[in-house]
């Protein structure tokens, strides 16, 4: 016993001496309280006596100066201050690589060092490596140097868009399960258009509109974008290829043109299913019976533990409760060559953070910035919840499913933002955030995580601003006129050569230039 005590004593002394040795030189640094200026997306501007912010600041021994910038005009207002010579330490860039490129060109962003990130933001680093083990050599680069850290969206980027049918129509027309092949899909679409599923005696329903076409293209292996669908490139055997010019798309167009001629496609597809900020309008209004509009959380039924409302399902519920309750979710139908897919947003978003060039001169501060971000956003679920909601047990607590939720039923993002909560400090959302088990089961059951087609381009194409608008117009015109039968199917070949000639080849070259393997 004595020996044991002595041993412990010696050990304790040794530890404290060692710790002391390590501690002494850094003690002064820990005392120094940095002030980090910070830009975030804000539901509401932060108040001067923000309680949650203060709590986190004291916890991490740092002052965080959050700039109030109106989110409705974020870019302009931030740029104005940048132009006036004020640069925040943490710069939010909502416009992706184009925005990052501007800031780097103005010399305002610091070049980042992967090892520094690894050392001072280990949790962040680990999570980004989970996304792509070459992450910091692929994303956020300008001319091969690392300047930006994009946000990851685990909730959206892991699951494809909806593949949703009007269940009440299906039942009425005698389909008891969702189609699995393109052939079965075709049957359902024809029935929707011809079988008067809404029973009003008028021939006023269609199978699908523009966004529903995603799975038809997907059944041929590629997904061409359109003016409001930002998906362009696919990695084919290590080469990035432009989806809309692939020969397989000609076959897809042949199918669509036939359907259009047969009255299966809503002629309004030219203007689309989306109207302004409102999504899936044609589907909700009972004009079409199938759509790929919306993400899973827009349609998810009420499941135990889920708190937010599903926007599109409730929209439909207001108009037709029965339809909302009988929605059927399917998988992208498989095409003749065995391919299938639906649009999936990128896990790596276009929203990025860059860091002030002034931090370059103060390495200690730079390290502190990364460690603060790591501790607030990535270190633990509970830590992030504290920065999001406030004090545990007072502002929030875990529910029976282990999910953190506010204890105040009047909680709103705007009110939380005033105190420094919500996204004011949690500028990155880590994948430690949890969804209720029932939701995860539901997602698994309908295979939301399989067969998603994403845009594989992750770089800034310097010539994109020059050609983008005109090429997009060329593409939209070609696709629309082929589907509507104004141009023959073979016009596709003319379109492809024109696209390549008018800048497309240059974009393809640029997309394949930098370290893409």
């Amino acid at each position: 016993m004595k020996r044991y005590l002595a041993g412990t004593f010696i050990f304790a002394v040794a530890v404290s001496v060692l710790a002391g040795c390590v501690k002494t030189p850094t003690a002064s640094n820990q005392d120094e309280r940095y002030t980090i200026s910070w830009t975030a997306w804000q539901a509401s501007p932060i108040e001067s006596d923000a309680r949650i912010k203060k709590m986190i600041e004291d916890k991490l021994n740092v002052n965080i100066d959050i700039w109030n910038i109106e989110p409705t005009r974020f870019e302009e207002l931030l740029n104005l201050r940048l132009a006036s010579g004020e640069v925040p330490d943490v710069i939010r860039i909502p416009q992706g690589y184009a925005g990052l490129n501007n800031i780097v060109a103005q010399g305002l962003a610091a070049k980042l060092d992967e090892d520094m990130i690894k050392k001072h933001a280990p949790n962040l680093y680990q999570e980004y490596m989970e996304c792509d083990n070459n992450f910091f050599k692929k994303y956020g680069l300008i001319d091969g140097d690392l300047y930006g850290i994009p946000l990851l969206q685990w909730i959206r980027g892991k699951y494809h868009q909806a593949v949703v049918y009007r269940g009440d129509w299906m039942k009425k027309l005698g389909f008891d399960k969702t189609p699995e092949t393109l052939q079965e899909f075709e049957e359902v679409m024809y029935a929707f258009a011809k079988g008067d599923p809404d029973g009003n005696g008028k021939n006023d329903t269609y199978g699908l509109s523009n966004i529903g076409m995603d799975v038809v293209y997907g059944a041929f292996g590629y997904l061409p974008g359109s003016k409001d669908r930002e998906i362009k490139w696919k990695n084919k055997d290590g080469q990035l290829v432009y989806n809309a010019i692939q020969p397989e798309m000609k076959d897809a167009l042949r199918v669509l043109a036939k359907w259009y001629a047969d009255g299966v496609i809503d002629p309004e597809f030219v203007t689309g299913e989306k109207v302004g900020a409102q999504m899936a309008v044609s589907f909700i209004n009972g004009r079409i019976g199938f759509t790929c509009e919306g993400r899973w959380f827009d349609w998810v039924p009420e499941l135990p533990g889920r708190k937010e409302v599903a926007k599109l399902r409730t929209g439909l519920e207001k108009i037709d409760k029965n339809a909302a309750d009988s929605l059927m979710f399917g998988v992208p139908p498989v095409g003749p060559a065995g391919k299938s897919g639906a649009l999936q947003e990128k896990l790596v978003t276009d929203v990025m953070y860059a860091f002030s060039v002034d931090l370059k001169a103060d390495a200690k501060k730079m390290e502190k910035v990364f460690s603060v971000i790591d501790k607030i956003c990535f270190e633990s679920y509970e830590g992030a919840l504290e920065a999001w909601f406030g004090e545990k047990g007072v502002d929030w607590d875990y529910d029976e499913l282990g999910i953190g939720d506010s204890l105040d039923d009047k909680w709103t993002p705007a009110n939380a933002s005033k105190l420094g909560g919500h996204t004011q400090l949690v500028i990155f959302k880590s994948n430690k955030w949890k969804e209720p088990p029932a939701v995860m089961e539901w997602l698994k059951k309908y295979k939301w995580d399989e067969n998603g087609i994403t845009d594989d381009l992750y770089m800034y194409l310097p010539s994109s601003p020059k050609y983008k608008v005109d090429l997009q117009k060329l593409e939209d015109d070609a696709y629309i006129s082929i589907i509507t039968g104004k141009k023959p199917i073979d016009y596709f070949d003319t379109f492809v050569s024109q696209w390549r000639k008018e800048g497309g080849d240059i974009l393809t070259q640029e997309a394949n230039r930098g370290g893409n393997n």
Binding site: E75, E76, N79, L80, L82, A83, S84, G85, Q95, N102, Q106, G107, L108, K227, E268, T271, V275, G276, Q278, V281, N285, V357
Partner: protein, 316 residues
């Protein structure tokens, strides 16, 4: 002019007075202006040094004074930019449409209002018609977006009940200019009619009496007497309206524009805002503003001169 006799008996003419004679005499007037002029000097003239970034490549870190000179580069770029030329064209097209449809509207309104004999009703109509003038486009924008919304907007709901397809007015390039011009008329018809209503009230009632005696019908009276009497005012207003053709209503277009209609809706002011503040090309944007303002000033000076010549009426 009063004259004073000097000591030597010589007549002192204004010529002999020191240059500050008048200033001294009217020092109170000059003193009175001081705060106003000072305010203009500080808040309008002091920041004008910023115009030089049109001739420099503005680099944020260096600031306005240290950024390198590039001469007329940005002005050359301006005329090579398809976006600028398109915005220029859109500005002229929208202003032109507003001139063709928006200019006569208040005149017709004023003339017809004058024919209303029930005074109380006339006053009521006037009061109501001025109201939109006082609401900002930040509010009106939100209102029209809702009103014209394809899913919940009353206009489209009306179309639907009549069995027509809903139209997304604000995202449909073929509709956007119509929306801009008609909301412009909606907002300004009442307010702009004030000038004409006033001119009509100044018309001698005897003219109408004489007209009646000569057997003029009511339409003839409107046409010959009312409109005839309005002609000078109309001329002046038209000259100034033409003088303002390069000016666009930033607030209106900015608050109503959506990205699908940029090809027809982007005007000089919104483009300059976007390229400057959003895309960070301040120098280009400033060059554009400078170009526009010079043309605008020349046009208005010209209009002022023409108006003065025709009718001895000028803005200053």
């Amino acid at each position: 002019m009063r004259q004073r006799i000097g000591a030597a008996g010589r007549i002192i003419t204004p010529r002999d007075r020191p240059w500050y004679y008048n200033h001294k005499k009217h020092k109170n007037l000059l003193l009175m202006m001081l705060p106003g002029l000072l305010s203009l000097f500080v808040f309008s003239y002091l920041p004008m040094y910023g115009m030089q970034i049109a001739f420099r490549d503005f680099i944020f870190k260096l600031g306005i004074w240290q950024s390198p000179w590039v001469g007329l580069k940005h002005f050359r770029d301006l005329f090579e930019s398809a976006h600028f030329l398109n915005a220029f064209k859109n500005t002229l097209v929208i202003s032109g449409l507003q001139l063709v449809f928006g200019f006569p509207a208040p005149i017709i309104f004023a003339v017809l209002l004058n024919e209303i004999r029930v005074l109380k009703f006339k006053k009521l109509v006037q009061t109501i018609s001025y109201l939109p003038h006082f609401i900002s486009w930040a509010v009106l924008g939100g209102m029209f977006i809702q009103l014209l919304s394809p899913s919940v907007g009353p206009v489209n709901l009306l179309l639907k009940t009549m069995g027509m397809q809903p139209i997304y007015f604000l995202a449909e390039p073929s509709w956007f200019r119509t929306v801009i011009v008609s909301t412009h008329i909606w907002q300004t018809i009442g307010w702009n009619s004030i000038v004409y209503i006033a001119a009509i009230t100044n018309i001698d009632a005897e003219l109408y009496e004489a007209g009646k005696i000569d057997g003029a019908t009511r339409f003839q009276q409107i046409f010959y007497i009312t409109l005839g009497a309005l002609m000078p005012v109309i001329t002046i207003m038209l000259i100034f309206a033409v003088g303002k053709i390069i000016n666009d209503n930033f607030d209106q277009i900015f608050n109503l524009m959506t990205s699908p209609v940029e090809s027809v809706g982007e005007v000089l002011s919104t483009y300059s805002y976007k390229i400057g503040l959003v895309k960070m090309q301040y120098s280009f944007s400033t060059a554009m503003g400078l170009f526009k303002n010079v043309i605008s000033l020349l046009l208005i000076l010209f209009a002022n001169r023409v108006a003065k010549k025709i009718n001895d009426y000028g803005l200053w």
